[in-house]
Amino acid sequence: MRTMRILHKWLGLIVGVQLLVWTLSGLVFALLDHHQVTAQHSIRKSPKPVLGAETRLREPDDWLGAYEGAALRDISLVPLAGDWIYRVRLTDRTELRRAEDGSPMKVDATLASRLAEDLYAGAGRLRRIDLQTETLEARDAEGPVWRATFDDADATSLYFSAADGRLVAARNDTWRLFDIFWMLHTMDYQGRDNFNNPLVILVATGALWLGISGGLLLFRSFRPGELNLVARWRKQRSGASP
């Protein structure tokens, strides 16, 4: 038991601060409204357009020769900002072509702005559109992204893939606050998401032993009768007024 006491004391010293950080960040997660954090309320849910008979289609046969030798994954005919396009997925990249004539197209700033304004459901207005290659906020996306920044109260940003125009992330100040505490919680101070990193494993091992030793000490630290609060209260009262 002496070993446990020493262990608990030293682990308390070494792991204690992180344990406090874990509890504090955990409290922040519990308090911040998760719907607000995910920013899903800032995205408009409109019914998907249906492919009409009048939409002109240039068949892939006419332009697929451009990908001779490339490793094709699939081709999709999808709506994008009011038009229909082919999304050609290759193993190493994605390309877009206009459905009407099969000509290649890129997601430029103008198209990205249109996508952002079509999808945004908040009260603000689009203030900036910029191309970013490495972002912490849209870190799950592969490749460069367009960031559309709105001037609402929660500073909402929508991120679109620069390769195929898909919405890849929706962020706001609530998420940004959440994410700082998420970093503190996972102890991944670079990518923020890897909670299998060596540091967190080391500290979690310490915390596990802190918990086990604490549990054992707790058993020993209470004397019989000490937990009988009613009896102790009575005793205290009778002692106070003899």
Partner: protein, 249 residues
């Protein structure tokens, strides 16, 4: 250590102000008594989550053939022909599927997903049970055998909550108790589960204290217990300060 901790509130506060070391100790012991089980559950579940590799939990090593390129054929049905035959199309995709010698058209329509042989134009969805069994084995990268194949129609198990039904559930007899979930129309692998994922899910439930849906991180129980635990952790740190000072003195 001698001296019974005071229990009456006034004496408790008075004693605490006079002897902060005593207060920190009393606070820490009693809060630990009340919160001990949950605090232990947090460190144990947290330990599991950081130690077991997340990609393994997601079942990445258990599956293969997740993307199959559409097989090259000399001629396939044009997109416009597919559009003429089917109504309410929201998206058309030409793709491959493990075990299929021909490319397939996958249509997302108002009435769900439709799968079409891109050469003959014949509709092949919903997929036949034998076809799903073959698919399951082609997605599966483990050493077990397909033990059971069930079409889930009305009730989704908790482990795939939120996903629309119907879905095929393919259970394998390996030591991980691997389960693959396959879409009955598109033939895509929707998700996979195994023993360590299921434990992770239980630990996650214990971690966020949502015992029903296992998803609500904003529940009041969690909020209250976490708040009090903050005092437990803070009093512990406070106690560390005193316990090391005493040694020096």
């Amino acid at each position: 250590m001698p001296g019974a901790p005071c229990f009456a509130p006034s004496a408790f506060i008075f004693d605490g102000l006079m002897r902060p070391a005593r207060l920190s100790r009393t606070l820490h012991r009693w809060l630990a008594l009340v919160l001990g089980v949950q605090a232990l559950l947090w460190v144990v579940s947290g330990f599991y989550m950081v130690v077991v590799d997340l990609d393994f939990i997601h079942g990445d090593p258990l599956v293969r053939n997740l993307t199959t390129p559409p097989p090259r054929v000399s001629e396939w049905l044009p997109f416009s022909e597919v559009r003429a035959r089917h109504g309410g199309i929201e998206q058309i995709r030409i793709k491959g599927l493990p075990g299929s010698a021909v490319p397939l058209y996958e249509l997302a329509t108002r009435n769900g997903i439709v799968l079409v042989d891109a050469v003959t134009g014949e509709q092949i969805s919903p997929l036949a049970e034998r076809r799903v069994a073959t698919l399951a084995q082609q997605y599966y990268a483990g050493r077990g055998k397909l033990e059971r194949l069930t079409l889930l129609v009305t009730e989704a198990p908790l482990e795939i909550q939120g996903r629309p039904l119907p879905l095929w559930r393919a259970d394998f007899d390996d030591w991980l108790a691997t389960t693959l979930y396959i879409h009955p129309d598109s033939g895509e692998l929707v998700t996979r589960r195994h023993r360590f994922w299921r434990w992770f899910d239980v630990f996650w439930m214990l971690h966020i204290m949502d015992y029903d849906e296992r998803t609500d991180v904003n529940n009041n129980l969690l909020r209250i217990i976490t708040t009090v635990s903050l005092i437990l952790a803070a009093s512990g740190l406070w106690l560390v300060y005193f316990s090391f000072r005493r040694v020096r003195a």
